[in-house]
Symmetry: C2
């Protein structure tokens, strides 16, 4: 009922949150969203909007917008706390799960639109004029992106355990590819 106690942020967490703020712009989210995300990751207990605003020294309305954005990234979990009308938030516990979500969301925002554009351009009737070189390049790009997107999707279907294994394999992939060469008889 009284205002929730204000948060203690350790110096370690402070650096972490600060960094996520600075990197936010490079990651295509803004500073505030990066900081909110970082704060929720390192907070064991879910936080309400007032606590977030106080911890980051930002206005309540800014918190609201930031949470909305974070929600659109599928990185926000709301939890109810008995006897408290406020909404409490956290991020998924599993960092690998978060990373996978992040990659999927970035794919949607950064790659899919380009794939669509290339598809529609390549489907159009050929215009007059010599743009065969340009069309060739767009076609190459389209095929590569399609391949990459398909591969990313396949990776998303792998269970975490499998994915970790693949990551740890590293250049051992080379041996595996050799193996498939021998099995299938292709180069």
């Amino acid at each position: 009922m009284p205002n929730s106690e204000s948060l203690e942020i350790s110096l370690h967490s402070e650096s972490f949150i600060q960094h996520f703020g600075e990197m936010g712009s490079r990651w295509g989210i803004n500073r505030t969203v990066g900081q909110i995300c970082a704060l929720l990751v390192v907070s064991e207990a879910p936080l309400n909007a007032d606590q977030i605003g106080e911890a980051l020294h930002i206005s309540r309305s800014n918190v609201s917008m930031g949470l909305k954005e974070l929600h659109s990234w599928n990185l926000l979990r709301a939890v109810a706390i008995a006897g408290d009308r406020k909404d409490y938030f956290t991020t998924p516990d599993d960092v690998l799960e978060m990373a996978r979500t992040l990659i999927e969301e970035r794919r949607k925002r950064e790659i899919d639109p380009t794939l669509s554009m290339l598809r529609s351009v390549l489907l159009q009737e050929k215009q007059v004029g010599d743009d065969s070189y340009a069309l060739q390049k767009m076609s190459e790009m389209h095929d590569l992106i399609e391949l990459l997107v398909g591969w990313l999707n396949e990776m998303q279907t792998l269970k975490s355990q499998r994915l970790m294994k693949l990551l740890k394999l590293g250049s051992g992939v080379n041996k595996i590819l050799d193996l498939t060469d021998r099995v299938s008889g292709r180069s």
Copy 2:
């Protein structure tokens, strides 16, 4: 000696260039840089700064800054044209090569700094106060990023042919991982 003829841009290329401009901000480069890159990709012949500026309707100084930025992404190739003092530019021919460069550069800008930050935080003496949960999360994140970065590096060492093969393999990776399970006897 006279000004080089002005460029004809096909409608297809126009869409392509426009799209790269719009996506630029999402990709962490700006509109102009995206457009210059797109223009150079679809132009068979190398272009000089004036041609670029004219094609994109931007000032000469803006072209200069854009080229500088593109250079910092390792996506620019300068070629000399006999009998012309102007510098001519193009992008690498191979789109896969460009994609690999892009991924590497984004890793440097978007992932490496975070890895460094996490390392330095985790190396610091433990502060007083209970931030063990936060440290735990940072440690998990550090390990995951390290794994991912290592894996990306391994991929960069693969020859293009090999990389394409891996991409085409898709979730066929599952079968291969099964195979290694059986061979090595691990889960």
